[in-house]
Amino acid sequence: MFSVRIHGRGGQGAVTAAEMLSVAAFREGRHAQAFPTFGSERTGAPVVSFCRMDDSPIRLREPITEPDAVIVQDPTLLHQVDVFGGLRPDGHVLLNTSRSAAELGLDDLLAVLGADRLVSVPATDLAREHLGRPLPNAALLGGFAALTGQVSLESVLAAIRARFHGPTGEGNAAAAAATYAMVAEQRRSRADA
């Protein structure tokens, strides 16, 4: 079982991201489950969504408290929400920011995970460039694919296009591909260094 927790703000598409991630895993023949935290969400308020992937049917339905990966769609949440709560020591973190983990004061987490598993990527900028709107949710799924290898970029793009049609689908897919390339490049250059 691989468990993903997505932290965002109402309007950033955290719920849709978890759903698309589950579709990507499903396309690869895996069992997947996505669900939101349930409540009367408001635009801008902290929102959490979840995705589980497994090779056998998933019977659990509780919120994910010990994630294998955390995606943070908005770095300002770091000061408000315990986004890394329960993260497994061998886990992965994908932050939507142009700043590094060190610049964000995440040295302790960096020491545990290492730079290879704690990755920043400016997904909002990439979404603005490719989609024309500052919505980072689909873009970050490309980064997730590169970071964890749990799903392929191809499956992520197919899931995005299944959810969003026409220019919105293509823009989101392009943003996801760009994010994938950027995270993959970061990891490659660290491996070379």
Binding site: E19, V23, F26, H31, A34, F35, G39
Partner: protein, 419 residues
Amino acid sequence: MREQIEGSQAVARTVARCRPEVIAAYPISPQTHIVEGLSDLVRTGELDRCEYLMVESEFGALSACIGASAAGARTYTATSSQGLLFMAEALFNASGLGLPIVMTVANRAIGAPINIWNDHSDAMAMRDSGWIQLYAESNQEAADLHVQAFRLAERLSVPVMVCMDGFILTHAFEPVDLPSQEQVDDYLPAFTPQQALDPDDPVTIGAMVGPEAFTEVKYLMHAKQVQALDEIPRLADAFAEQFGRASGGLVRGYRTEDAETVVVGLGSMRGTLEVVIDALRDRGERVGVLGITCFRPWPKDEVREALRNARRVVVVEKAFAVGAGGIVGQNVRLALQGLPVEVYDVVAGLGGRPVTVASIGGLLDDVLAERLDPLRLHFLGLDAGLVERELLRSRGVDRPGPHAEHMLRDLGTVASRPV
């Protein structure tokens, strides 16, 4: 075809394949996605020969369904929580008139205090309204139960509620093998109403019945529900044969054969119970799960048969009778009358509190170690400190004010806490 799909959409598309002719509904969370999905299917023509009525309230919704069903139309609606309570009077009319309406209840707590999250208070409050109540374990079962529900309702001329946990199932994306149109058409015959308002062949439906026959009419209602106890397993068997998967039925046991301790539960918590039971089995404990799919009518004999060799039965339920105790628990005790079995009543998952592997695991550890008093009603994960502080605060004060708001203030903001 197997799809990764939201529970609500899976239900909407499956209901559409049951070819309802009238849908009347009013939106309420967490049910809304279902009727939104259906209204889209009607609008696009994918579901044709169907009248979709957007009414002014839940009372209006079920009243319109009653009229449509009495006119001989296959009729469907869906609701949740306060919406179901707002239908209360019409629920009894639908069942009393013997109208085969099918309704999805996306289970949600009842206020006050207002709470939009999942538990079973809504359906349990209406458990004696004369509707058959089926509880889905997963979105696959939720979809499948609707196909069976129309056939069951129309065969017996009784309304059927399909209960699925609000948000936990309705808003979850998971794989569902959606029944195809051909499969549903093969399984579900065209609706032949047992009674219909027809200007060419006029009858009266809903006449006043006095003391001379009221008891007998009610007796027949009861007899028909009891008849459903034979019909439901037959329909589930026919479904399994045609669709190649088990869905529905009255009760479903998991590793109960030699179990000394059996946990009983309804709805989506069943998967969690199974995970805990597997872990305990690995430790050598003789434990099992009995899932109740059909709560009304109450399958007394089947429950008794499934639990007859158990020493302890732990009933975990998402509702309770205030001032009395467990609801499912009372029914289980009735089924076990005369057997040397200890029954524990445990209330869990109220108002959206997650039922977790940790909380159920801790509960069963307590039961197995005989640390739990079977004579008391237990509230899983109760924050006793919060209750005690509130009681202390309000003690000896002339006007202590509302409890709920004071307890919220005590907890402080929870929005930013980790899940």
